[in-house]
């Protein structure tokens, strides 16, 4: 069986022999006047075969562009193979995909589509047209004039004109329908409206209005690429329109397809969601783009007790169930697993009644009966309008951490979108030093830097206090009366509540023995006196952040 199938003049489909893979792993090769364009590079597993297939059409060096239309790694994880096989051209991709690719460790030249240009080849504007998304959350499309084909990554895989018909899924069937109509011939084209490249129209290649027979195809093209249509749809097409509406609203189904197609490495095995690193990149990209969004951090309350009474596996199931609930109720939003029991829901576009909406969501979670045991959730809401400073992503993280911690202190089961935290609710640092002058200064400075700090000069008193107040960070000098810092650390490690509190050690002489002993007790931050306060405060901050993330 040939791996490169010629579909139209200048258009090949590169696919794998088995029909099962066909939907997921279609790549297309388009001949342009100068070189070739590859639509979707394909997954690593199939990369070599696809390269072989492409070579039957043209040497790899002739490929000038690889366009990645799908944001799942299935569409791009073989990029490095293409590059070693001789690809030196540019990548065209959506910003989301660019992030993913960069995270995949691939360094390539990107064709920047944000600048507003639509053509990949100046001077040959209509040969291969980039269809820009009209709606946030959609990926871009590619329209090939010569074959009259539209490629889009909206459906978890690049879909060319030859969609197989074995698909039972209603959403895919609608797609199928649309594609069939498009593939009838090179009759439609999209055109940029003068002066505003983001607005385009779909018009017939010949003549001024779209023939009635081609309206479904035009509508489909419009629905998928978000361009405006000059002609109103005729009433005869109502069933198709309804189906397309359903298609748009059943993002859920589409997303499931996306889930299935994605690389397991980026997903959290327990919940099936994209994990923290993906979420980080996603948010960072959102921030960079300056788009308006809201992040809701949903956390199952009392996770430690649940872990203790149910076991980790059952808790994983709870998280999975929570992910299901959120996916069902918030189909429009993007869901990630942030850390442990925290799921992150990102919605683009600001909404006025978001807080009430999340309140309802919280109540729905509490009343949902699919969980193995009734759970409550805390939701920390951060709006993009709150983010400030040079690094909005860091401030998002800090706000989220602060609010989640506060929710934890307040006992959970609440939604919080404020940060004006009263002093008694801030993180508690315990400082231990026998030198009262330095201890007092340390406390004063840490308070000044925004930590709530308690200072203790004697080891015995410190242990008592620790049991009572459960600090989140301990800073201790090695030599203390009664118990030295090592003895205190040993006792902390023996205690169920205190063993994972981060610990900073101060010492007069940072000798090898002190370091070895500290490391054996899991202390990795050792400061030699005189201590640089800036560094100490920085390390304290990062340790507090890490302890929150680990919780």
């Amino acid at each position: 069986m040939k791996n490169a199938t010629k579909l139209a003049p200048g258009l090949w489909r590169l696919s794998l022999p088995t029909p099962e893979d066909a939907l997921l792993c279609n790549s297309y090769l388009i001949a342009l006047s100068e070189g070739y364009c590859l639509v979707d590079a394909g997954p690593t597993a199939n990369g070599k075969k696809l390269i072989q297939a492409a070579k039957t059409v043209t040497p790899i060096a002739n490929i000038r562009i690889i366009a990645i239309l799908d944001d799942s790694p299935f569409a791009w994880s073989s990029l490095h193979l293409w590059m070693t096989a001789g690809f030196h051209g540019e990548l065209v991709a959506d910003w989301r995909v660019v992030t993913s690719i960069a995270m995949g460790g691939i360094k390539a030249r990107f064709h920047d589509l944000r600048a507003g240009e639509t053509s990949l080849f100046p001077g040959k504007a209509d040969e291969l047209v980039v269809v820009r998304p009209a709606e946030a959350g959609m990926t871009m499309g590619l329209y090939h004039k010569a074959s009259g084909s539209l490629f889009s990554g909206r459906f978890a895989s690049s879909i060319g004109p030859d969609l197989p018909d074995y698909c039972e899924d209603p959403g895919l069937r609608a797609q199928h329908l649309f594609m069939e109509s498009v593939s009838q011939g090179p009759v439609l084209k999209t055109e940029a409206l003068a002066g505003d490249s983001s607005i385009r129209r779909i018009c017939p290649r010949f003549g001024s209005s779209i023939p009635e027979a081609l309206v479904p195809a035009a509508l489909g093209l419009a629905a998928l690429s978000g361009v405006c249509l000059e002609t109103a749809p005729p009433p005869a097409l109502d069933p198709l329109m309804r189906e397309l509406d359903a298609l748009r609203s059943s993002n859920y189904v589409l997303k499931e397809a996306m889930v299935g197609a994605s690389d397991a490495a980026l997903r959290d095995p327990a919940s099936g969601l994209y994990g923290r690193s993906y979420a980080d990149a996603f948010i960072q990209a959102l921030c960079e783009r300056g788009s308006d969004f809201s992040a809701a951090f949903v956390r199952i309350d009392h996770i430690k007790e649940l872990n203790r009474s149910l076991g980790a596996q059952a808790v994983d199931l709870l998280i999975k169930d929570l992910a299901d609930v959120l996916n069902e109720r918030e189909a429009e939003a993007f869901l990630f697993r942030w850390t442990g029991p925290v799921l992150l829901l990102i919605r683009e576009g600001g909404e006025a009644d978001l807080f009430e909406h999340l309140e309802r969501l919280k109540r729905a979670i509490a009343s949902d009966n699919r969980f193995a045991r009734p759970i409550t959730a805390s939701i920390a809401l951060v709006r993009s309008s709150e983010l400030a400073g040079a690094n909005p992503f860091a401030s998002l993280q800090a706000l989220a951490r602060e609010r989640l911690k506060l929710l934890d202190r307040r006992g959970g089961d609440a939604v919080l979108d404020r940060s004006d935290i009263p002093i008694e609710e801030r993180s508690l640092v315990l400082a231990l030093d026998s030198n009262t002058l330095f201890l007092d200064f340390l406390v004063e400075l840490l308070e000044h830097e925004g930590f709530r700090t308690q200072g203790v000069a004697r080891g015995g008193a410190a242990l008592e206090l620790m049991d009572r107040t459960k600090p989140e960070l301990v800073i201790a000098d090695v030599s203390l009366p009664q118990f030295d810092a090592f003895q205190i650390r040993m006792r902390m490690r023996a205690s169920a509540d205190l063993h994972d509190i981060p610990f900073i050690l101060l010492t007069d002489v940072k000798s090898d023995e002190v370091i070895a002993r500290a490391h054996s007790l899991g202390i990795h931050h050792i400061f030699e006196k005189p201590v640089s306060m800036v560094e100490l405060v920085g390390v304290a901050r990062s340790l507090l952040a890490r302890s929150e993330d680990g919780a």
């Binding site: 030599s479 006196k529 640089s532």
Partner: protein, 951 residues
């Protein structure tokens, strides 16, 4: 009679009033201390807040109000907080904005050392050239050791480079005794000096060269190698040695060996042995021959061979091959290097013993290593091997009577018989110390003389009336006059105490002022602080030894080692130590005997994980013998002797050594406070809380210890005649003790034993020092604390006091020739007479006084008010001394909670009714027994540390 009586009465009244006044003073001091504390704390908090917030204006206001307090605060803070961005930058800015130099210039002219030091430290805050100039000036003017050290430290830390020729001139002007310390204080300057010497070339004088060595050590370069090599080869003095030491420490060992191998000078030869030991393979042992054959360097060769074995633990066969070889000296030295492996070799040996093994055993026997032979006989080996070994030993021992006698004494009868050793001679108990007849006569005569003085004087005064006084009148007059004597005696003894108390107060204040300057960080830089070896003899301490050693290992001191000497414990003390600290037998380098004679050492253990722990296992010989065995292994500049069961304050060593560093004289011994640990909460070998003991007996001792340590000993140091440092905690210059021949034991050079070894060593140290006119001093650190268990039952207390008193008497006898000899200065003119008068004869007089008091009351001999008044004087004066001591102790020595403090105050009063009288009668009884009953000291029964948790 009436006016006399009223005089006594008014005396008693005066003392009562004084008592009340001191008690009131105690109250006021307590209250004032609290108020002062609050003021200081609030200022500290205020200043810290200003610094944290960068409030420079506020700081300027504080500087205008209390400059010294502000600068001292900043200086202390900058010891812990490094310069850099943030708040510290604000401090620098503020310091640059004020007239620091003007202020410090005024303060530097102060007569008080602590103020001058604070001014020098404040100057260190500034980074300007003016401050450096002023620092150099202060160094030129300063004569005190501590002041110079601090000035040098600040000069070294100043960002600007000082004028090196001027600095050299300043260093040369300093006392030679402090030369090393002063260079250490400058060590921070090392890397910067390097650039200077690179440009200026080698300086002319010795001081300059030493400074050059300091810089070369901090960053040795290729150019330095040649320069140092030249110095090391040319100079035959301290400079040459210093250069050689830098070459050894800072360049690769192979390079040093290649360059200097074959050089005969000790400065090359001794490190060469060590470097060779670390780098040689077992096949190349022959290269150490030149060390083995030279008696002067033999021990270094042995140490090197031991290092080879340490690096190649499996290479015993290579050693044995040499031992079986013809070269006698090499065989002997290698035998000594591997002697601790003998038990292991025997364990694996087969029936006919190999010639090498035989050669090893006979070499060890030749060297009289009886301890290791004893140890080897306790190894379990196959019966045939054992018989072969015993047979070999039998023939070998025949020609070695000394080892034979030792083994006969220590081996069980069964093995003794198998070795056909003679039955051990009926040796008297080691701990029984017979007193020489003439010593007894001397002491008894002295006491008799002391007691006869009063009747003689009585007779002399009343000789006219004697013939016609009736018996009862005579008795009346005698008793009456005796009351006077007793009153005068009481006044004298307590008056002495009072004088000492005042002297103590002076000394304490000057020590405390310096200590409160917080100079620990400064004297901890470089190697200014002398290294210390703690020697802890342990005898049957299996219950407490592990906790004690743990606590000893976690003291706050930069360089010290702990030597536990297991004095032939009958329980499992050694096993507990071996298993808890991962101990492994190790060669001590010089074999198992040392410079000082002691009972044979069986094995020396080192810990695999703790490099500063050493355990010496030896045959039982008493505390002094164990201390000598420990002294043989000690390497520190000072040795600290403690009881294995006492709890040392973690700061005790550094506090004691601070006084040593600060002293203007050579300190040969320094003591610290010892307080009862009874009742205190001890956990993990650390004192958690200071509480009063529950037992009244122990409480009385708390007051007694407080009085004698705080009030007495500090005062004696002012008079330069302190002769007692408690055996529970004392530090001695190791070199001085080694020169003396260590502690007094039957095996030592004096062939004399004593139960008062702690006092004896101080007296002997002082004696030798005065005889050689060296000007060494015995000092006392007012705040170095040690806690020890005191007896809680009367019989145990009696035994302890009996031992003390015997010890005192033995020491007095042994060193009686020092008395009233001006060459021994205050020690001979004041201290020893005091001991004779108040410690030897005094108790007799006192007891007699109480006896007469009771008799007079019972038989109504005289007006009962008179003896009662005399008694009241004694009691009120006693209370005055006790309460005043507590007043002194309030300053940084002992922290009791207010409630406990007042409880102790009550005890200090009650103690004078009964306890003091009983202890003084106890001494009389000890004296009595000493004269008429020969008795050794027995160890009091001790409990383990009570691991009580505070309620």
């Amino acid at each position: 009679m009436a006016p006399d009586y009223s005089f006594l009465l008014s005396l008693a009244g005066i003392f009562l009033v004084l008592d009340l006044a001191v008690a009131a003073w105690v109250f006021i001091v307590k209250r004032r201390a609290r108020a002062l504390y609050l003021v200081r704390t609030s200022r500290m908090k205020r200043l810290n807040r200003m610094i944290a917030q960068g409030d420079e204006e506020g700081l300027a206001r504080e500087f205008a109000a209390t400059p010294s307090a502000l600068l001292s605060h900043l200086r202390r803070l900058l010891e812990d907080v490094s310069p850099g961005p943030g708040p510290v930058k604000a401090i620098r800015g503020f310091v640059a904005s004020i007239d620091l130099v003007g202020y410090a210039g005024r303060e530097l002219r102060s007569r008080r050392l602590d103020r001058r030091i604070e001014a020098i430290l404040a100057l260190g805050l500034s980074e300007s050239g003016e401050s450096l100039v002023l620092l150099m000036e202060s160094l030129q003017r300063e004569t005190s050791t501590l002041g110079r050290l601090v000035a040098l430290n600040r000069i070294a830390r100043h960002p600007l480079m000082p004028d090196i020729p001027a600095l050299i001139a300043c260093l040369e002007a300093g006392a030679a005794r402090n030369r090393k310390k002063e260079f250490q204080a400058l060590s921070g300057l090392g890397p910067r000096l390097h650039d200077y010497f690179d440009q200026a070339g080698l300086p002319p004088g010795d001081t300059g060269l030493e400074l050059y060595l300091l810089s070369a050590r901090s960053s040795p370069t290729e150019a330095d190698w040649e320069r140092l090599k030249g110095l090391a080869l040319e100079r035959d003095d301290a400079i040459g040695e210093g250069a050689a030491a830098v070459l050894v420490d800072c360049y690769p060992a192979a390079r040093f060996i290649a360059a200097f191998s074959g050089r005969p000078e000790p400065r090359f030869r001794i490190p060469l042995a060590r470097l060779l030991g670390m780098s040689l393979s077992p096949e190349e042992l022959g290269r150490l021959d030149s060390w083995f054959h030279d008696p002067a360097y033999r021990e270094h060769g042995i140490a090197a061979a031991a290092l080879v074995l340490k690096a190649h633990p499996d290479a015993v066969d290579a050693f044995l091959a040499h031992i079986g070889g013809p070269d006698k000296a090499r065989a002997t030295c290698l035998s000594l290097a591997i002697e601790y492996r003998l038990p292991g070799l025997l364990y694996h040996a087969k029936a006919p013993l190999g010639t090498e093994l035989k050669a090893l055993v006979s070499a060890l026997l030749d060297e009289k290593r009886a301890g290791i032979i004893l140890e080897s006989l306790s190894v379990s080996m196959p019966e045939r091997t054992r018989l072969a070994y015993l047979g070999f030993l039998r023939t070998e021992l025949a020609s070695r009577p000394e080892v034979r006698a030792f083994l006969a004494r220590h081996l069980p009868a069964g093995i003794s018989a198998e070795l056909s050793l003679p039955a051990p001679e009926a040796e008297e108990d080691k701990l029984q110390i017979p007193m020489k007849g003439r010593d007894k006569v001397f002491l008894a005569g002295l006491v008799a003389l002391g007691l006869a003085v009063f009747p003689a004087a009585f007779a002399l005064v009343n000789w006219r009336d004697l013939p016609w006084l009736s018996g009862s009148e005579l008795l009346y007059r005698f008793v009456f006059d005796f009351q006077w004597l007793f009153a005068y005696y009481t006044l004298a003894v307590n008056g002495t105490y009072l004088v000492l108390l005042f002297l103590s107060m002076q000394k304490l204040r000057s020590q405390a002022r310096l200590w409160e300057c917080d100079l620990i960080r400064i004297i901890s830089t470089g190697r200014i602080l002398p290294s210390i070896s703690i020697i802890a003899p342990a005898y049957n301490e299996e219950k407490t030894i592990v906790e004690s050693v743990h606590s000893l290992l976690s003291l706050a001191y930069p360089s010290y080692q702990v030597i536990v000497v297991n004095d032939g414990s009958a329980d499992s003390t050694l096993d507990v130590l071996v298993s808890s600290f991962d101990l492994q037998p190790a060669s001590s380098g010089t074999g198992l005997t040392g410079e000082l004679a002691s009972m044979p050492v069986r094995t020396i253990y080192r810990s695999a994980s703790l490099p500063n722990l050493l355990v010496v296992d030896k045959a039982n010989g008493g505390k002094a013998d164990a201390l000598n065995a420990g002294l043989n292994r000690a390497t520190g500049d000072y040795v600290c002797t403690i009881d294995a069961d006492s709890v040392l304050d973690p700061q005790a060593l550094i506090r004691a050594m601070f006084q040593v560093v600060a002293s203007e004289h050579e300190i040969i011994a320094i003591g610290g406070n010892v307080f009862p640990v009874n009742g205190c909460v001890v956990e993990h070998g650390h004192l958690q809380e200071i509480l009063l003991p529950d037992e009244p007996l122990a409480r009385f001792q708390t007051v007694e210890y407080l009085r004698s340590f705080v009030a007495g000993r500090l005062g004696w140091t002012v008079l330069d005649s302190l002769l007692i440092i408690s055996g529970a905690f004392g530090l001695f210059r190791r070199q001085a003790v080694m020169e003396l021949g260590g502690y007094l034991t039957g095996k030592g050079i004096y062939r004399h034993e004593t139960v008062g070894e702690d006092m004896e060593i101080v007296v002997r140290l002082t004696r030798k020092d005065r005889e050689e006119g060296r000007g060494g001093k015995v000092d006392y650190a007012y705040n170095a604390n040690c806690w020890t268990e005191v007896p809680e039952t009367w019989p145990a207390l009696r035994r302890q006091r009996d031992r003390w008193h015997r010890g005192l008497m033995e020491v007095l006898c042994f060193h009686r020739s020092m008395t009233f000899k001006p060459r021994y200065k205050a020690a001979g003119l004041l201290s020893l007479p005091y001991f004779f008068l108040f410690e030897l004869i005094g108790p007799w007089l006192e007891s007699l006084g109480y006896l007469v008091l009771v008799l007079a009351l019972v038989f109504n001999l005289i007006d009962p008010m008179i003896p009662l008044t005399v008694f009241a004087i004694a009691v009120f004066f006693g209370i005055l001394i006790s309460v005043a001591s507590m007043l002194l102790a309030e300053r940084q020595i002992l922290y009791f909670r207010t409630k406990e403090f007042f409880k102790l105050l009550a005890v200090a009063v009650i103690e004078n009714f009964g306890f003091r009288q009983l202890t003084s009668m106890g001494r009389v009884w000890s004296n009595f027994q000493f004269f008429f009953v020969s008795k050794g000291w027995q160890k009091g029964s001790r409990k383990g540390f009570s691991s009580k948790v505070a309620p």
